[in-house]
Symmetry: C2
Subunit: 240 residues, 2 copies
């Protein structure tokens, strides 16, 4: 007798749940929807998932017709892209996120802090329009964390001509550029801002957040720092 097989129900909810509702899968799909295409980029979005399992899930999604794999630009680099069926999952993942944001205790969310995840998410949703067009380097500090996770650098490359999309990089070791802005807070505060539970202004006021550096960058932080795609009444997870 098969244990733990499918649901053996013709109901479409069952068919969908069978592929989608296994461990890590919704988060992986979220990461794909958000625009990551390469193995190690995906890993950054689901840091505690083992590579073996990630690989397995990707194969499952491929087989389910949700993901397509192909060689990215020749050099043997694999890329994973959502198929139409996969893209069509966006509404469901958004639904999950919105539901979570609405109904799960804020306190509970803020029990699961993770700087790498936060920074990776922030990097993806940066709004570079308020930024000067030269290269910007913004350093984040979380003094309460162990040394290896205290410092993060967000690099926004110079804008080329009228290309609107600027390259951004996230580093956890000093890239060596002069820093334009320092942002310091505890991880919980920064995460709460990101989630839309509070604001930059608010936390500056109570000194939970300290910013030093170029006034222009400082003033516009609430704008260039995006918000989580699920922060109150916000739109879909932005892709790239």
């Amino acid at each position: 007798m098969e244990t733990r097989g499918g649901y053996a129900q013709f109901c479409p909810v069952a068919m969908a749940a069978e592929v989608l509702c296994t461990r890590w899968t919704p988060l992986l799909v979220r990461e794909l929807i958000a625009g990551s295409t390469r193995f190690n980029d995906l890993r950054r979005g689901v840091p505690r998932m083992s590579p073996a399992l990630l690989s397995k899930r990707l194969r499952e999604l491929e087989q389910a017709g949700i993901v397509e794999r192909f060689d990215g630009s020749g050099s043997g680099v694999q890329e994973y892209r959502l198929t139409s069926a996969g893209l069509d999952l966006r509404g469901i993942v958004e639904g999950l996120g919105n539901w979570g944001q609405r109904w799960v205790e804020t306190q509970l969310s803020l029990k699961n802090l993770d700087p790498s995840l936060l920074m990776w998410d922030m990097r993806r949703n940066l709004d570079t329009t308020p930024l000067p067009s030269r290269r910007c380097t913004i350093q984040f500090l979380y003094p309460e964390l162990p040394a290896a996770r205290q410092n993060w650098w967000l690099l926004i490359e110079p804008s080329h001509g009228d290309e609107p999309m600027r390259e951004t990089d996230l580093c956890s070791s000093d890239p060596g550029f002069e820093v334009d802005l320092y942002v310091e807070s505890d991880l919980r505060t920064m995460t709460a801002i990101w989630m839309g539970f509070t604001t930059v202004a608010n936390e500056l006021r109570t000194d939970q957040l300290r910013i030093t550096g170029q006034p222009r960058l400082r003033e516009s932080m609430q704008r260039w720092l995006g918000l989580s795609p699920f922060a109150k009444g916000k739109g879909p997870p932005r892709s790239s």
Copy 2:
């Protein structure tokens, strides 16, 4: 080290997936949304789920603030009702169902036939308005099935005054009333009709479906038999 705990991510998708994406849970929620409130009614919607697990899931959902349990009408009968947070899951479950209907191979759906589930679902979605206001008894026959699952009776109680909602019952043993309509087909055909993959008229034409009894009931079958809630958006948008 904890194995298989939560995701430890602050992302709301993770928070939601943690409660919702465990085995059987989406189907259980579907059943609750569909209106079942009592333990054994819920069981009929998820027949292959063990009572122990059902009980466990209900407790989990209760703890997650999705379900509320209380005494139904005094007699110690427990009822399970969705809270506001639970009702708010409707969009997600519908999303899953619509996605499944659109993207999972029809053939695959029709591999998982289950007469009790089909009949239970049909009973719930009957449209009684085309039916005469006296009691109606409709018998379904699936000749290819083992004896115990061949025969099903749908009882639609007489309508009282202008009460629009009529009591309906599903029996798998002869209730003894005179039968107004016999419907005979293989289970696959009936399921396909229910899912919106084909129509009553179509299957009558090819003799996959045989109906005998009162002409009025026979003619209106496509109407009084509802359709699966997911039948609307059917058909994968072919990769045209």
